[in-house]
Amino acid sequence: MGNNGLDIDNKLSQFENKLAELKELACMFNTDMSPEIKALEKQFLREKKLVYSKLTPWQKVLLSGQSQRPRSSDYINALFDNRVELYGDRIYGDDPAIIGGLASFRNYKVVFLGQEKGRDTKERIARNFGYMHPEGYRKALRLMKLAEKFNKPIISFVDTPGAAPGVEAELRGQHASIAENIGMMSILRVPIISIVIGEGGSGGALGVGVSDKILMLEDSIYCVCKPETCSEILKWGKDRIPEAASALKLTADELKELGIVDEVIKEPLGGAHKDHELILSRVGRAIKRNLDELTLLEINELLDKRYVKYRNIGKFE
């Protein structure tokens, strides 16, 4: 297997080209080749399904980083109405790596958060590629406390390679801001739903990810460290990065199995970027269903459940 996830797409596009060629030929010679074309199309779909059902964890890592995958802002813009974005932590600044604000969602009023990597190069730089600084975590916490005060559920989209690792982040207390968010999110007295839509990068993701329900897109990943880093630390070298990806158990299905993720949201064939509309509607439905469920619970029951959920994570003899 090559290191480039697009290898899969290349293989499939060869198939696609053949199909197009056949169609063209049929047209040129004005012959009815529809049975052949239909058969080939069927075979193509079968092949495609097979290929995508057998993705290795490393291929999922590459897929999850696809720049064409819908970003947090795509979900927020599509699913929420009457959006009001709010800015800043009131202490230091505003962190463009996370967006947050107020919105209505179906019959609910919610506070939304979304780690935002940005789309084109310019925006990606402006948003620091989704690496949040302490002011971002503090902005998120400010909005979450607002949600708690006015009894609004919190919807948090997780998509980050990790918390910002630079000197500036350290000087402003990266560890403390993440710790405080994790702690506070475990006791906030409103329902919290987090959705991992691409990359769940370690503590940087958890800093806005503690929730009553963790939903995860089928081809997204959530990991304690990047497979590249893991392989480097273990001195496995670059060749064994795919092995590290498997060892870390970072795919949605594996994490569901481990009892960490509550629900896996199926992606369109080939990944979320192949059909934005379809994945947006699926995510919308999943949020609605979980909100309906969580808002029925009495608040202390919700909090007990949240505590037990995390209390029970861990495996040992």
Binding site: A163, P165, G166, V167, A169, E170, L171, G173, Q174, H175, A176, I178, A179, E180, I182, G183, M184, S186, I187, S202, G203, L206, G207, V210, Y222, C223, V224, C225, C230, I233, L234, E243, A247, L248, K249, L250, L255, L258, I260, R306, Y307, Y310, R311, I313, G314, K315, F316, E317
Partner: protein, 258 residues
Amino acid sequence: MLDNLKKNVCPSCNLEIGKEELEKTYKVCPNCNYHYPIGSDERIRQLIDAGTFIEYDSELESSNPLNFPDYEDKLQKDKILTGLKEAVLTGEGNINGYPTVIGVTDYRFRMGSMASVFGEKVVRAIERAINKRLPVIIISSSGGGARMQEGMLSLMQMAKTSSACMKLHQAKLLYIDVLSYQSFAGVMASFAALGHIIIAEPGTRVGFTGERGRSSIRQNLPEGFQTAEFVIKKGMIDMIVQRKDLKSVLADLLDFFS
């Protein structure tokens, strides 16, 4: 740096110093005040009144839940080398007569990193403290953060331990963090930063991203970056306490909040 430990030479100032002398100085160099990292067993001896320590959950041992390559071997090696079963020791005992629950993470065992058993032991200790209405002191020497070999199970211990810390806050029970040697990443971004009072020993390295995580970025570091003396000026910790004074400072705090 730690290689020097075996040669009876201070890793910081190269002073030749015998083992017996170091014992008398709480494993602190009498010349340059370098605080040697110390193991969890020694820490308990230094802090807890003789004969009062009761260890919790000593039977809990890490397995290899994800079948991560070579993890069992690494655990086995650390177990043999240290005589410990996990990177954290928990229990209860008295500090100058004040009863407390205490947890000590051990840098010698998987760099003090947090995984399933670690998190479970910390949470059980905190839950016992809540039931018994006792304060909690956790001493962290964890450069390792969340242990890679247990993947997301390790990462989620951040949430698990932090949830328990918040219960402690809600129960209005005192929680003190002591940072020693080094404390980074998943440990420092969870329970080790959630104490009512955060104490560090001199020279302790404190932060989120350690040197390895920064290696890809070229940035000039301010002098003393991520040391206790530096982060106290940045408002991250409450006080720096010499090891020889730690027991009495903790006793004073336990007294104040009792």
